[in-house]
Symmetry: C2
Subunit: 115 residues, 2 copies
């Protein structure tokens, strides 16, 4: 799996509009297992986007989707600062492993506990 | 919804053991919609934990679960630094809204697009 954690600071008052842009673009992305958009509870201009993809290639391919390309254009006037805080290797949705997650969201090769 | 984004830096070489601790504790947490644990791709001692809960109260209640309390004790010797980067209000799993997410993972009140 391939993950990304990003912090977006919008221009003043543009957060709701940026969420709408993401809603319009972030569905139907092949290989996207999880795409959580969240408002910062303490800063009204900050959004957090946390993504889980099947592979790095599936994320890269998403950037060529028409809806995603359109969103990137829209974001130029809405986003004041984009910070990619981390590129990650998700080990799974642990909270949902027992019952809630579809099989595709589980880690393909769970590690044996070392403790 | 209530969200958390945290960065854990383990003591050298303890990341796999910390993942095992989280695996043992983070399942079966009532009100937990999403609990992604991810290795930082660039730092072998860093883990990212991103959480989505139904409410702030459901997260608070989880801290009293025996498995979670045990994990907190175990973490004391494994984690060198814990940084809570954000408390958030998730607006939904946008990537999964179309087909993959069960109803309970969707935003209860989707906002109307403003753009």
């Amino acid at each position: 799996m391939h993950g990304l954690i990003a912090k977006l600071t919008t221009v003043a008052g543009a957060r709701d509009e940026m969420i709408a842009v993401l809603r319009a673009s972030a569905s139907n992305m092949p290989g996207c297992l999880n795409y959580i958009v969240a408002e910062d509870a303490g800063n009204e201009n900050v959004l957090w986007v946390t993504e889980v993809w099947e592979t790095e290639a599936s994320h890269a391919a998403s950037l060529a989707l028409p809806a995603v390309k359109a969103a990137i254009v829209s974001a130029r006037s809405l986003v004041a600062q984009f910070e990619r805080l981390a590129v990650t290797i998700p080990v799974g949705d642990l909270g949902a492993m027992t019952a809630k997650a579809p099989t595709s969201q589980r880690s393909a090769e769970p590690r044996a506990p070392t403790a």
